[in-house]
């Protein structure tokens, strides 16, 4: 397994380097930050002075190398806007984003697993049919739309839950659902088809022939098999949550990395954008690696390095 793990680690490192180059180039294509930092009537000499101080007058590849070298030791420079280390700004916001992404993922899995299992067990029954309708709805509704809809219904019309903010669990509900909504459909399908396969396997037939109660057959012996394909995808979904968080955090005024980066983009606050995106890609890679590990926990054939 270690060889496999090291290979995945190397792939992860390459992905992060790739992401850093892309975000570095794109952010610099988006416009000149100097114009946002200085008053409109600033003299040219002052503009040149600031540009030199920030290192923005050097060739792009030199800027990147300096950036990469500093990034390696965790120095992303100071935020142009907040005059504090960009990394610290991101790290401060990170727990809120992880909290949201985890809850979003939890929501999607908590819906997808039982619905997927029951759709497979009662194939063609009413759960299966309703599940299919929801799957279609889920795919047709992007996160921002679900978010706005939820705010409209549960915050404004019914006044059950707050529309924004961070701190209590009630403020977490709507953003977590908006974030977790989209992957529910795909996850349900994964669980459903995996369950259908497993329920038709010889070992389940043997289990039945030996009198195992149906409840255990479904929720223990079949589900652990069916969980393997979902688990392999969880890293991808967690990463998708991090991506989706950029939109959802902005809608719900959630003080996470996503909203911070979005604001930094509008302010052309390069260090914060770079630190935020790079950090997200590190999380992305790490969540995939964690999944490779947990995959082994669930599937003994992988754990034992077959």
């Amino acid at each position: 397994m270690s060889g496999f793990f090291i290979r995945r680690l190397m792939q992860g490192v390459i992905s992060i380097i790739g992401a850093s180059i892309i975000i570095f180039v794109i952010s610099r294509l988006s416009g000149d930050p100097i114009l946002m930092l200085l008053p409109n009537d600033a003299p040219t000499s002052m503009i040149e002075e600031t540009r030199r101080n920030l290192g923005l007058n050097r060739p792009l590849w030199v800027q990147y190398l300096i950036f990469a070298q500093n990034a390696l030791v965790g120095d992303f420079g100071n935020s142009y806007r907040w005059k504090m280390p960009a990394l610290k700004l991101i790290l401060d916001r990170l727990p809120a984003t992880i909290e949201l992404a985890m809850c979003g993922l939890l929501f999607s899995v908590a819906v997808a697993v039982p619905v997927g299992v029951m759709s497979a067990v009662h194939r063609g029954g009413w759960i299966d049919r309703i599940g299919r309708v929801f799957a279609m709805l889920g795919q047709a509704m992007p996160a921002f739309w679900v978010g706005l809809l939820l705010i409209l219904v549960f915050a404004i019309k019914l006044n059950w839950l707050p529309a924004f903010g961070h701190g209590s669990w009630s403020q977490l509900v709507l953003p977590a659902i908006s974030l977790g909504w989209y992957p529910v459909a795909a996850q349900t399908r994964i669980v459903r088809s995996a369950m259908l396969d497993v329920l038709d396997s010889d070992h389940i037939r043997l289990s039945r022939a030996l009198g195992t109660p149906e409840r255990l057959i479904i929720w223990k012996y079949a589900l652990r098999n069916a969980a393997v394909p979902l688990l392999t995808m969880l890293g991808v979904y967690f990463a998708a949550m991090l991506g989706g968080a950029f939109v959802v955090e902005t809608i719900f005024a959630w003080p996470g990395v996503g909203r911070t980066v979005v604001e930094a983009v509008f302010a052309r606050d390069f260090p914060v954008v770079q630190a935020g995106v790079l950090f997200t890609s590190v999380l992305f890679v790490m969540s995939n690696l964690l999944v490779d590990l947990s995959y082994g926990l669930v599937d003994p054939r992988i754990r034992n390095g077959r």
Partner: protein, 319 residues
């Protein structure tokens, strides 16, 4: 009689029509006896075995007639819950065809072998562990106590079949249905598994139905044989009688198809023609289309003719 099946009819309701997979099967198994159920692929052997446990393909399979009595208790009318609780794995256990796929890949063998014991409340806690070790010792799995945490992929095919056997005999069932337990294994392992089944029977006194299309295996394990063709039993009798004086033309053809001279194994493949479709089968003798001795009368269903004690066959030639 331990098991007594009378005129069993199992249908599969498929899109193509109603498939009469088991069509009037009667058989008896005494305590401690091994009955061989022999026949070509598709003749309905597995579905006969599954019918005993009422584990038919979900949605399509149904027992539509006949009776199954175990120790005098009628099983066809028993509720699903009672079947799972008192019969499956407890009084009747089934070993499936393929040991490579019969074990759950993501559960340790300790869990799997312990599962029937737990579900039928035979043992719990520390007693469960020692019961699992004990039953694995009985199937002669090497050093079982050290391997309870191992997973199926860490065992060979022969070892897996032993583990499957351990799952089946854990609750000392009265009847063991072994569905081609050796087909997927190589010859030396087959012999080991056959010996294992013999010793299980000596230990527990269970009745065994051995489903096979390997006549060599059937001859070495069984006292009586029932030959199945197209959903019906066409000849049944003691092994010696069937081998010495096979009476149904199909049985004769089967035995003739065994290669001579030291070849121990034989597959039932060498008869010209195909068995009839079980959706809309012929009204008369189902073997007639392939039979070299066919007569006009064969268009009517043949009677079951008793030839000697316990030996009977269904053929007009014998009347």
């Amino acid at each position: 009689m331990l098991l007594s099946v009378r005129d069993l009819q199992t249908h599969l309701h498929l899109k193509r029509g109603v498939l009469r997979a088991v069509d009037g099967v009667s058989l008896d198994v005494a305590e401690g006896e091994t009955l061989g159920l022999v026949g070509e692929s598709g003749s309905g052997k597995t579905l006969t075995g599954l019918s005993l446990l009422r584990l038919l393909p979900k949605g399509s399979g149904r027992i539509v007639g006949g009776s199954i009595k175990l120790d005098g208790q009628e099983l066809t009318t028993l509720s699903e819950a009672a079947l799972a609780r008192d019969i499956r794995g407890r009084k009747i256990a089934m070993i499936m065809q393929d040991p490579m796929t019969s074990l759950n890949p993501v559960f340790s063998i300790g869990d799997q072998v312990g599962s029937p014991l737990r579900n039928h409340d035979i043992a719990r806690g520390a007693a469960l562990r020692s019961a699992v070790v004990d039953v694995l010792q009985r199937v002669r799995l090497p050093s079982p106590a050290d391997r309870l945490g191992d997973y199926p992929h860490q065992f060979s095919g022969g070892q897996r079949q032993r583990i499957v056997a351990a799952m089946a005999i854990g609750c000392t069932p009265r009847l063991l249905v072994a569905d081609e337990p050796t087909t997927a294994l190589d010859v030396t392992i087959q012999v080991q598994i056959i010996n294992l089944l013999r010793s299980i029977q000596a230990d527990t006194g269970a009745g065994i139905i051995l489903i096979t299309h390997d006549l060599g295996v059937a001859a070495s394990l069984c006292r009586r044989i029932a030959v199945m063709y197209a959903g019906q039993i066409i000849e049944t009798g003691p092994v010696r009688a069937i081998y010495r004086s096979p009476s149904h033309p199909y049985t004769k053809a089967l035995l003739a198809a065994i290669p001579r001279l030291g070849a121990k194994r034989a597959r039932l493949t060498a008869i010209a023609g195909q068995p009839p479709s079980l959706i809309d089968p012929p009204t008369g003798c189902r073997f007639a289309a392939r039979c070299t001795l066919r007569m006009d009368k064969c268009a009517e269903a043949p009677p079951n003719v008793t030839l000697s004690d316990g030996h009977s066959a269904a053929c007009w030639k014998l009347v």
